[in-house]
């Protein structure tokens, strides 16, 4: 019985340690990078001194948390009760929004702002939130135009631009 309970409890403990283990790994990697820098030069403290101190500090703290994960628990929260299960609808929505973020990164390199807005609105407003596709498309195109004209042209901000955006901007200049 005790053995069985131990087996059930193990994944929870491992799960609790995982983020700290990831932190420790990252800190050690950064410390390894920082060690290649001079900590002292003839002029005084070198570029490596501060990064070495901060990364070593992170590594020590993360190491302590890997060893004693209980130190990271809030007094009013146990390790297990932090997670709330979400339903399939929320999971689908989360997935759509999760995919939208890398799309934005790619679209800011390859597509212009108007296409990005239109695709984003279609994906989220129509695809994920189940609104009408026409409304979503119009909304996306309007956002794209507002971004180009309002933000880029009037406010002096920059938006990802292709031939389409540049042609629109030329109309206003």
């Amino acid at each position: 019985m005790g053995w069985a309970m131990g087996r059930v409890a193990m994944p929870g403990r491992v799960k609790e340690r995982l983020p700290f283990l990831a932190n420790l790994t990252l800190s050690l990697l950064l410390l390894w990078q920082a060690r290649g820098l001079d900590s002292w030069s003839i002029l005084g403290p070198g570029p490596g001194l501060f990064p070495q101190l901060t990364t070593a500090f992170c590594a020590v703290v993360a190491g302590l948390l890997v060893l004693f994960p209980g130190l990271a628990r809030t007094p009013d929260k146990s390790a297990e009760d932090g997670e709330t299960e979400i339903g399939p609808a929320e999971r689908r929505l989360f997935l759509a929004y999760g995919l939208a973020l890398p799309f934005l990164a790619l679209a800011s390199v390859f597509t212009g702002f108007i296409a990005m807005s239109a695709f984003l609105a279609l994906a989220l407003t129509w695809g994920a939130e189940r609104r009408s596709w026409r409304g979503a498309l119009v909304f996306g195109l309007l956002c794209g135009l507002a971004g180009v004209v309002g933000f880029d042209h009037l406010l002096g901000a920059s938006v990802p631009a292709t031939v389409l955006e540049q042609s629109i901007l030329r109309l206003f200049r």
Binding site: Q33, G46, F50, E90, Y97, A128
Partner: protein, 500 residues
């Protein structure tokens, strides 16, 4: 007084008044909207202000900062949804007052209390700034290092989380601040640090990308996981008469407003204090002082007036160390510090002495901004809460696109990629209950701390004794140690939360 008149002469121009109005209006709107905080908004707008006049830009960004506390009140009172963390306590008694048919009175008491706190806070900044700025001139690099360490230790204490977890975020933020070319190496070739050989990283991690990733993108992911709840809005009064509190309510608000103003300002000045802690503390204090403690949670006027005043006073208080010492007390003021720097203004004693038109213009704008907020928050509140009726299906893509414009304007396509990466990181860190505000604060403070440490060690020829060579440094380092030791005590913030 002369200085303040100079400030008013700077603000009372059509352009500056307009930017003040835009800032306070945006602040109110952001305070109303749950999910879009002042951090993400200031980060989005920061790159857009680059072409603006420096005073106008700072007036607008500061308007957003202190306007948020007003906006959060409306949703707390009418919907029981805190638009901002500092308005959480208002949900308890403010909402119950609204349910008891006193919505108008609750909004008025909160708005007037906030106005009094904001105005007195601004007066306190006006009078405290010049002597404080003179005092800071006495600080050398060693004392400044000790001050920063004390501030970081205070922040870790007030954040209320488990100490090691909080320290991990501080360490991580300080490390992120080191990424990129060493700013102090005076050679022709750059010395890249922690870049893993990537040329894109030599410029460092873009603050706008970091802030928007952690507070904009991650918030959208967070919102996507939440089931949509039907909003039950208690309608605000249709006529101005409906907003008037009765004599009993006015009498019961006077002392909580006075106490909230003093307490909130003092807590706000402390590093890590800020509006949220001020409102929680004020609620606990009012409960102790109130003649009718049994009414708390059921619509006690004191439970609304005190915290609402305190959170605004806390917001004003946090501006004092930022403006006079260049020391941000929380994540939002850390971002404001960066906004100042982008415009070539270094907040601190030098700003008070050498750029009085900016410093006093900003102070004067706060007086005017508080009047604008009072006007915005009473007759227009019914209209403003309609923002909440915009469906998530349209609001979320809009926020995402605004975030992209902000990041792209600041650092191009590569910054968008960085922001997305930090968006996912921020989401997971939030799920694991890490404090993201600390990460931003430490990121901004990191380079300043490093400069002080290196200057101090250069002066001393590498002798670490310089950090304990005078009573001021020793006092500050002892304060840091006390905060860290106190942070080890369990249940230090729990009792406060239970009170609330």
């Amino acid at each position: 007084m002369e200085n303040l008149l100079l400030g008013f002469s700077v603000v009372v121009t059509p352009a500056n008044l307009l930017y003040c109005l835009i800032g306070t209006f945006l602040g109110t709107a952001i305070g109303i909207l749950p999910g879009v905080g002042p951090l993400a908004t200031i980060a989005i707008l920061m790159p857009l202000t680059v072409h603006m006049d420096v005073t106008s830009a700072l007036i607008m960004l500061c308007g957003i900062y202190y306007g948020v506390a007003y906006g959060g009140t409306a949703t707390s009172v009418l919907l029981r949804i805190p638009g901002e963390a500092s308005s959480v306590v208002t949900c308890l008694d403010g909402y119950m007052m609204a349910r008891n048919g006193r919505a108008g009175a609750a909004l008025t008491i909160a708005a007037i209390g906030s106005f009094i706190a904001g105005t007195i806070g601004t007066i306190a900044i006006s009078y405290a700034s010049p002597p404080l700025a003179k005092l800071v001139f006495a600080f050398g690099p060693a004392q400044y290092t000790a001050l920063m360490l004390a501030a970081l230790a205070a922040v870790t204490y007030f954040s209320g989380g488990p100490l090691l977890k909080v320290l991990l975020m501080v360490g991580f933020g300080l490390t992120l601040g080191c990424v990129g070319a060493d700013p102090m190496t005076l050679t022709l070739t750059l010395t890249p640090r922690l870049t893993f050989g990537s040329l894109d990283m030599v410029g460092g991690i873009d603050l706008t990308a970091l802030a928007i990733g952690l507070f904009g993108f991650s918030e959208i992911l967070w919102m996507a996981r939440q089931p949509l709840a039907k909003l039950k809005l208690i309608p605000p009064p249709k006529t101005l008469l409906g907003f008037l509190p009765n004599r009993e309510e006015v009498r019961r608000s006077v002392m909580p407003v006075a106490r909230g103003t003093v307490l909130g300002f003092m807590v706000g000045v402390l590093p890590g204090g800020g509006a949220m802690l001020a409102s929680f503390l004020s609620y606990a204090v009012e409960r102790k002082f109130c003649r009718y403690p049994e009414q708390f949670g059921k619509g006690a006027v004191e439970g609304l007036a005190g915290p609402e005043t305190a959170n605004n006073a806390g917001t004003s208080g946090a501006l004092l160390p930022l403006l006079c010492m260049g020391l941000p007390a929380n994540a939002v003021s850390a971002l404001l510090l960066t906004a100042f720097m982008i415009h070539g203004v270094a907040p601190g004693p030098a700003m008070v002495e050498r750029q009085p038109e900016i410093f006093w213009g900003l102070i004067a704008s706060m007086y005017i901004g508080n009047v604008m907020l009072l006007v915005l928050n009473l007759p227009l509140i019914g209209l403003l809460v309609k923002i909440l009726e915009v469906p998530r299906a349209y609001l979320s893509p809009l926020i995402l696109l605004l975030c992209v414009i902000g990041v792209y304007s600041s650092g191009g396509a590569s910054a968008v990629t960085v922001a997305v990466a930090f968006g996912f990181l921020g989401y997971f860190l939030r799920r694991l209950d890490f404090d993201l505000g600390l990460l931003i604060l430490a990121y901004v403070l990191g380079p300043i701390l490093e400069r002080s440490v290196r200057q101090a060690l250069t002066i001393s020829g590498g002798e670490a004794k310089i950090f304990v060579a005078d009573p001021l440094s020793i006092g500050l380092l002892v304060a840091a140690a006390v905060f860290l030791a106190a942070g080890l005590m369990p249940n230090r913030k729990l009792s406060l939360r239970e009170d609330a």
